[in-house]
């Protein structure tokens, strides 16, 4: 197990290094000189040159790469071209929107999907199963941004229960802030929940055919206990794998959803930075997102061992 985890850890680190090379390399080939973009068209050639030196753009490529990676490791992400503030300030101010949003969405989708999956598997082939899996089939097909528009229409325009978009900030109090995150979280969670419910159901059905389930039932254990204690625990590995993969989808989803709801989060920041050619922000935020995907998938690998004691000795 230790060897396995060590291998995963090394792979994760190597992926991170290669990813940083890819991100740096891709943005290097972007057309346009950042110094010129910052100063605008009227700037003199001297001013642009001076800024290039100040930003280190005159340094050799390798040196700039190492400088950038060193900065990432010490949380010194440099200064944004367009906002003229340290990138770390931008990131920390936005992460308090995106992280709660992603966490609420993840919790919501798990809280919906696992009971639905278990319920469906336990009533396999009956109308309840057909209906919930039909709903899941539709849920998978719904684009989250369209679902978001429908939610805005019903709950913000029509019922006027929540704001249609924007974010008051946590300083306005926890309740208004949470209210602003509610629709985006639901919009993000629904398609994920549909996928997760399907996976939970099919993983459970596979486990329910096993001998130990029959034994547990034969010795008189209640159906419900067998289902939730024995079967679900053994079906957790595929469910956890999908949860890990969904984290990346969730991050990507925040880019669109934050745009739909005008939320000042990381997704909107990176989208705007890309369109404004604010390379230093793009580089840093993309690396941050990629690193979090890698870390989450490492945690998923770790959690296999928690869920399944057999994996602690083998592998």
């Amino acid at each position: 197990m230790t060897a396995y985890l060590l291998k995963r850890l090394l792979i994760g680190l190597a992926t991170l290094v290669v990813a940083s090379l890819v991100v740096f390399g891709v943005l290097e080939i972007l057309p346009g000189d950042p110094a010129r973009l910052m100063l605008g068209f009227e700037a003199t050639e001297d001013a642009i040159q001076a800024l290039r030196v100040e930003m280190g753009l005159d340094q050799p490529l390798l040196w700039r790469y190492l400088d950038w990676v060193g900065g990432l490791l010490t949380l010194d992400f440099g200064r944004s071209y367009t906002y003229s503030v340290p990138v770390i300030d931008l990131v920390s101010e936005r992460v308090v929107v995106s992280l709660p949003l992603a966490l609420i969405a993840l919790t919501l989708s798990t809280a919906i999907a696992i009971p639905v999956g278990v319920f469906s598997a336990s009533r396999r082939g009956r109308p309840a199963d057909t209906i919930s899996m039909g709903a899941a089939q539709v849920g998978v097909a719904v684009p989250n941004f369209w679902f978001a528009l429908l939610l805005i229409y019903v709950f913000a325009v029509w019922l006027r229960l929540v704001p249609a978009g924007g974010f008051p900030g946590w300083s306005a109090g926890a309740w208004p802030a949470l209210k602003a995150l509610m629709l985006p979280a639901v919009a993000l969670a629904l398609p994920q929940a549909a996928i997760l419910a399907r996976v939970t159901r099919s993983a459970l059905l596979e486990v329910l055919g096993e001998d130990y389930i029959r034994t547990a039932r034969a010795k008189g254990m209640p159906r419900r206990t067998v289902l939730w204690r024995h079967a679900l625990r053994n079906a957790m590995i595929p469910v956890l794998t999908i949860l890990g993969l969904q984290f990346a989808f969730l991050l990507a989803g925040t880019i669109i959803i934050e745009n739909v709801f005008y939320l000042p989060g990381l997704g909107r920041l990176v989208f705007q930075a890309i369109t404004q050619r604010d390379l230093i922000v793009v580089e840093s935020v993309v690396m941050l997102l990629v690193a979090s995907v890698i870390v989450v998938n490492l945690l998923v690998d770790l959690s296999y061992a928690l869920v399944d004691p057999r994996l602690r000795v083998n592998r």
Partner: protein
């Protein structure tokens, strides 16, 4: 347990009979054919010309004249959805083609060679999976400029590791089998075996994955064009229509309804088709469902 279905061992007729007896396949097939027919029809005929802007007719609610209403430029929404289907299907289909065309040979090669080649491919997969696909698609389209072609490339790149993974897993399970051993004993090379024996036997897996990626491609294209990075106006696209609808939702909610339904309907059809196909092609999976 039966062996995986060899396409050549049954006639197309018996396969079709089995497939159409499957409810999921039938429903998916009907929906997919309808959408494809709508896209093809749009080349020959649409109720109205989508490039002509008639401001006098703008924002009309659905009626007998304009079945799905008109948008803020007076364009007929039904006609736009028909032309938009073309764009969605083309982008997703070519993206699947890119993924299959590059991913399948890579996966087969890794499975045949094993060792270092295999390890490198899997690590490459890890790398691509670490990048949230939409984020990278946004980066790609932002760098090379928005447009349908760049959307295809952006979505296609993320199909490569998916198909490589499926082809590799399928091929790996076949290599130790007797009929492959027999082919090797007969002196056939690895490349020839892959083409003659491996590919026909993983075709069913690839077909199922292909429909799934097709559906995901439709969703991804809609997302990109919603953000303004897909097909550019005046070419109608479903995602763009939803973006335009958002700010006008209070006065004209129907503008947001119909393009959304078009996306859901198409993706649902493809997913049902994929589910049905995997039921019919892989009897082992059917028992689990």
């Amino acid at each position: 347990m039966t062996d995986s279905t060899d396409f050549r061992s049954e006639t197309f007729g018996s396969f079709a009979a089995k497939a159409f007896a499957n409810r999921s396949f039938l429903a998916g097939f009907v929906i997919t054919v309808l959408i494809a027919a709508m896209a093809l029809l749009s080349f020959l005929w649409t109720p109205y010309d989508v490039t002509r802007l008639i401001v006098a007719d703008r924002m009309q609610a659905p009626s007998a004249v304009h079945l799905f209403g008109t948008d803020h430029f007076g364009r007929d929404v039904l006609s736009m959805i028909m032309v938009g289907a073309r764009n969605s299907i083309a982008v997703a289909l070519v993206a699947v083609g890119i993924g299959m065309g590059i991913g399948v040979p890579l996966g087969c090669w890794a499975a045949a060679r094993g060792g270092l080649a295999d390890e490198i491919l899997m690590r490459f997969n890890d790398l691509v999976f670490a990048f949230p696909a939409l984020l990278s698609a946004i980066m790609i389209t932002a760098i090379f400029g928005p447009g349908a072609v760049n959307a295809i490339i952006a979505i296609g790149i993320f199909n490569i590791p998916v198909f490589a993974r499926v082809a590799r897993a399928g091929a790996l399970s076949l290599w130790p089998r007797e009929f492959i051993l027999a082919a090797r004993a007969a002196g056939k090379g690895k490349a020839l075996i892959t083409i003659e024996h491996i590919l026909p036997n993983i075709a069913n897996l690839l077909l199922v994955q292909g429909t799934i990626q097709f559906a995901l491609g439709i969703l991804a294209e809609a997302g990109l064009s919603y953000l303004g990075l897909g097909a550019q106006p005046p070419m109608p696209s479903w995602g763009r229509m939803l973006f335009d609808a958002q700010t006008r939702m209070i006065v004209a909610p129907y503008l947001a309804i119909f393009p959304g339904f078009a996306i859901v309907f198409t993706v649902l059809g493809l997913n049902l088709l994929g589910d049905g196909l995997s039921d019919v092609l892989d009897p082992k999976l059917r028992r689990q469902r």
